[in-house]
Symmetry: D3
Subunit: 318 residues, 6 copies
């Protein structure tokens, strides 16, 4: 497997990393009408949208800050030695333009964009956006049949509704996804769940449909390698989606998010869990809830793109 | 005119200003079911809502930060000597709880709350929230007949729609208010308008209905006193609403807002223009678009509550 | 054991967490003259006072920021499932008003306030304030007989005096408390001590009176569970006070404090050590040295209230 | 005069302003090998370079932050009504890649890039970079004959050398430019000079070659309109370069710069002086010394791009 | 008048301004036991003390940050051309060590230090500290006979007491100074007073003893030159102290202070009013209330030392 | 071994830690012409220089911020009980003045300064500066014969060149040092290497000359004690240099650096690895790449000086 040099990122040895228009990982930027769009194999897509946020907004600014931080990423995985950009054609496909004042309209736009990718055979690596982003993406990716999911997060995002019946928020996407048949709950595992809770409604639902929740105290007690072995077993070799909420990571390492929960994994494990995904059948992945207004130093975005690079490596590993 | 001591704020000579649960200006906090609710004459209300924001969100956090900063406000106007809390019964009436993921539901909730105030004869001084806040407030205050408005802002907020037809955003409230008969456009004046523009659609509408726009270059050329004399003449002695967008003020003085425009008035004039409102027939006032996530030092909130104190003085002056 | 719904916090499902006047954990705010004051079982009290600080001041702003952050806390402990607000009547009792320019006057005021709580049978959970706060609190709680103490900190706060004989500073409270017979030194354990030292005067004193110090290198070598087992054994089933200085936690997780010491526990252990207190006879607890001016992002306050919630759970566990 | 729609920026009514890969003013990004490069009339170019900085570095990050902030700029000048993008073909030509560790190599690279523009007939609007940036740019623009210059700054940048003979720093570019025959000193005016001084060496040089310096106290005493009338007279109708150091503006409005000097113009005048350039024969312009590491809130970059928009308007006015 | 080169500051042309141990204005640092202490004519002294602060503390960190910022100051006044360090022997005399937990002890220490200066004939230029600093300084300087004072501030600091009788706070120093016969109230003028007020107690006292207050609205209406002419007339040619509270300046220019009041002078006037002091008989001067914890960017300290440089120029002008 | 009290630091019990001109660890400041210069045994030296930085500059501000933070350091090692200042004469020797605009000139100046130290028998503990700083220092220290090195870092800094042949950058110092015979590669160990990579050129070079690289995944797998035992064995008892790049530590603990790499050690291990150096033959040590502009809260500088104190302890241990 070998990629077209057209799709290789610019090296920091040639152009300093602070220079240049910031695309994801210094890849070429291709809009859907670009003549080489069809040659893309993995598309990095921004979804600057946070209208589903019930608490502190900000992830609409995520894609831009993630692009900025991503110019710090180099070509090779320091631990595995993998050079993903030389394996498959990667490109920055730009942002899906949401309608910040209309949730339904935004979801329609997002799903439409991802259906284009599905048609072209492009696998998406998404930079959100709040966690509601995953729902319209899954509507495109799982239209044929439900997918499995490995979900890193401190929250289940499985609630039924908020504020007296509001169905579409960043706390409900996977409840909807299960209801809509986009996720096969028996092939879904949620890792890192923690924090104070409203009630057990989300966990009761998980249990009722067969979603496996691994709370943080179990995660730490078993160690990440053991947990990830179970996760791989749960999703098996069928098509699987990876959803990574930055608040999975402890807020000392990733402060820039709207609903942080203390007591999470450190940055070494933030990457290590993703390396354990190598070899899975990944149809798409997302990094969500990076919120620049709460990320005073840019540390969260940098951690976010470091995770995205590992996700990319997982997507191109055999 | 003399107020009930029950409604007097706590003095910083007795309790240090950094101490205590932060209510607006250290006033008593009364929910609508409080036995003394009916005795309130001016109610300070928070509307923590920014779902109409087309650009950078954050004003949902405004009321809390404004309350925090407001404990720096003392009892007496330094220039006029007025002691507003001794004139009328003022209270913090808490926040209207919005639905961050549903604009229509939020507007319904806000209008309902303000209709209660109208019924009780309480005049509201509102802390937003983005500028769409003014629309559901006006729906309660102007239900009987259209009101006039003096509007401090760098934007007209008179656009028809955004993103292909979305009618309810923070860029459209006064277009809707005119259409709904809540504002008498001939008695509306907008002061401080500036910045780059999309097009002339908003200004053409203003002209077509008789709204008077005073752009910043005219404002500086004439001086604030002359401008305010014209503004007073435009609204006359009939019921008038005051809407104060913090981005009226230059962002060096008020950085914490979502759509700043450089080249505005300084903080001395930010207060001085409000003092010129004394004697008008003010049915309500608001301070909107204070956005704490973009207000690293709290300076904007402090300026905002200083303006709110002047608005309060204007509302109680004869 | 079941509480009165009057004392239940507002849910974030009903009112968004950024909305409302911020009381501790969204509990009702009751001043001592409130008719239901006598029904309170655990009172959350702020002591906005830092006049005893020898280094960088700021904890006088602690209670306000802790209240603000505390609206992120939900009703249920994510790990134990405990719902403390449904077990006992909890309330925000406001702040004790200190005299920032007079240490003795402030201590008198604080002790007087806590004596009222003792009389009413209200157990206090205090938000400081610098560590000198614990002394006037203990003067009220331990008037009858000395109490034991589990003390989380990076410093012993056992020095004799500063600056040529000054007895009352945040580095001396527990030296005074032992001298005044408020603490039974044989039932005192200090956990997490670290950092560079002036000399051994404090440790020599501890040894001479029987206070057990567990320095950080021992803490990490043994693990927190083992350390906490010893701590429980030291205080036994007699009345015990819990004092938690936020600088116990590593400053990457809790930067907002005046005298940070690197090399401390992470946020998972910051909570875990408190969960090990369940079942002790806790007469009161405090969270001190949270200093908002050095807490640029609010992370420290959020960690602080998360610990306070665990302390509350420990206080209501059987 | 009418431009090709290919070169029009994306509207915030269509794509929210926080969305999309950030190019200057949302213009198309064209590298020199782009087929439409030759159609560009005004090129916005970044020079991310600060190796000439003698004090606090940072302007190498300027172009990226200026691009980010520039997505807030709309299509029309609010005061003059001019729509520059509809007049001439504008594009983002990317960054010139400097060599951060070699000043001479960087200057060679920069001059080479701008010579390409001169050959293509593209007028440059540069985003620096520290003030040494202007020298290699002038080497390309003034190769045929010396140009005049209107220079907004708090410093003259006319020193002979630093640190015992170092000739190329951000404090010496215009001394070199005069020596190299790139500037006609009789047609050079420097406006806003202020701050404490090392000595009079720079001013003596200015006097000796006929450069006109207008210090800040004269600027304020006469008013900006009168000063700009003199400036226009000095440069006349011959080719003129505009160099705008962001530290011309008072640091309350533009804190993000390496050598701020208090007591400067406010943001209204920061724009107004540029509007007075309309009609001049402008061969190129730059905005330098924007230093994001010292621009905690992004305010300086936003002011910087607002000035760049005015510079663009001046460049396309008749 | 010509100074000893031993007392000249290091030039930024020789040692970059960011280098070196930061003394005030890069002057030599001399402790009282230094052999050349007696040769000093003007001593720059830090008083890192804020125990008198009733609101937000922090000025104890002022001297250090002012020293840091002061390395940006060069040798020559940009407007007058004066080179103060070549006129008189200036030195950094270090900090007076306060006792942060004992106000009376601290005042004793400060007065003792300044009595040493008086004995040696050294005129002090003080960097505070909160405004209570001025009292122990005046006790040394005015022991022989009362002095006059020009006082730049937004507050009068003339209150009788706080918190039920506390006499020594940063809101009371000049009340005490008048009572103690240190100030001749007929030769005292306070400029820039503004903000909301507790009551009129301070102003009534001023009137009763003949202190002239020039509130900010009068200041702006008359212009600074006219106001300063009156100020010079009030103090005449007798010994005069200059006290400059940084909150005189608008908080957009000087945010780093504990009790900001919006609506003040800009940075140009912040310096200009000091230049008007040339020729007065200045026995000492202070810059107080610079509070680094509230000065996120260092802008306030930089403005503060810029004012200190102008104060120094005023002290050495004939 | 016992030191002269002249070289003891000022205690925080006598002078509060926020007071005084900030020298390294409150030691006396001695320039080379000071009469007691020759009595110094360990000299703390600042090298405020970052011209070799290929990415984000800032370490030129390191020494000043490290001095400021160092006043928090007390006299005694909390874990070992060692009191280094009582063992050997330590002093702050000031900063080496670099030429920010000339790399070769700066290296010459630095080497000349350190040759003076070598001549006087003073061992240096350096505060950088970017990592190129180590090269001119080693040129002085290793002139006689190559030294060994224990190098804590996330990068090898062993690249051949950048930007088409530039040899002297912060990514190349140890390549040059090996080439110049300053380091004995067989006695060099690099610990903590991680992050994405350009290519394997640096690692291939290391292998070819016998440098031992311990990447972070090996470091965590083995534990720090085991790793450090190997490191000690590699350097043995011959002269050894210690180079500590702050980016060895995870950026959650040390954000203020130009090229952070996530997934590193925490602050406890940051110190613990240095304690393992006790007894080695240390000829000098450095702490580099602390970059204040990216260290919003000062946390990095505080960690940096805490490591410097441990380095000092290692240098004086037997």
């Amino acid at each position: 497997m070998s990629s077209d040099p057209y799709f290789h990122p610019v090296s920091g040895f040639d152009l300093p990393r602070f220079a240049g228009v910031p695309t994801f990982m210094r890849l070429p930027h291709l809009a859907p009408d670009h003549p080489r769009f069809g040659d893309v194999q993995i598309g990095l897509v921004g979804v600057p949208w946070d209208s589903g946020t019930t608490n502190r907004p900000g992830p609409r600014h995520g894609p831009r800050q993630l692009r900025d931080a991503s110019t710090m990423i180099r070509a090779q995985n320091g631990i595995t030695g993998l050079r993903p950009f030389e394996r498959v054609n990667c490109a920055d496909l730009g942002d899906v333009g949401p309608n910040p004042a209309d949730i339904q309209d935004s979801m329609t736009r997002i799903t439409a964009f991802y259906e284009q990718l599905v048609q072209e055979g492009i696998r998406p690596l998404t930079a959100g956006g709040d966690h509601l982003t995953s729902l319209p993406v899954l509507r495109a990716l799982a239209r044929q049949r439900p997918v499995g999911m490995i979900h890193f997060d401190s929250h289940t995002d499985l609630f039924h509704s908020y504020f007296g019946g509001t169905l579409y928020t960043h706390g409900t996407p996977f409840r909807r996804a299960v209801e809509e048949g986009l996720l096969d709950p028996k092939r879904v595992v949620q890792i890192g769940i923690r924090g104070t809770a409203y009630d057990m409604e989300d966990r009761d639902f998980a249990k009722s449909v067969g979603i496996r929740i691994i709370p943080i105290e179990e995660y730490f007690a078993r160690g990440y390698a053991d947990v990830m072995a179970e996760a791989r077993a749960i999703v098996g070799s069928d098509p699987t989606y990876i959803s990574y909420d930055i608040d999975f990571v402890d807020p000392a390492f990733a402060p820039g998010t709207g609903t942080p929960e203390i007591g999470g994994p450190n940055s070494f494990e933030a990457l290590a869990v993703v390396r354990e995904l190598a070899g899975l059948n990944i149809v798409g992945a997302d990094m969500v809830e990076v919120s620049p207004p709460f990320d005073a130093t840019g540390a969260t975005a940098y951690l976010g793109v470091s995770v995205m690079f590992e996700l990319l490596c997982a997507m191109v590993s055999d």
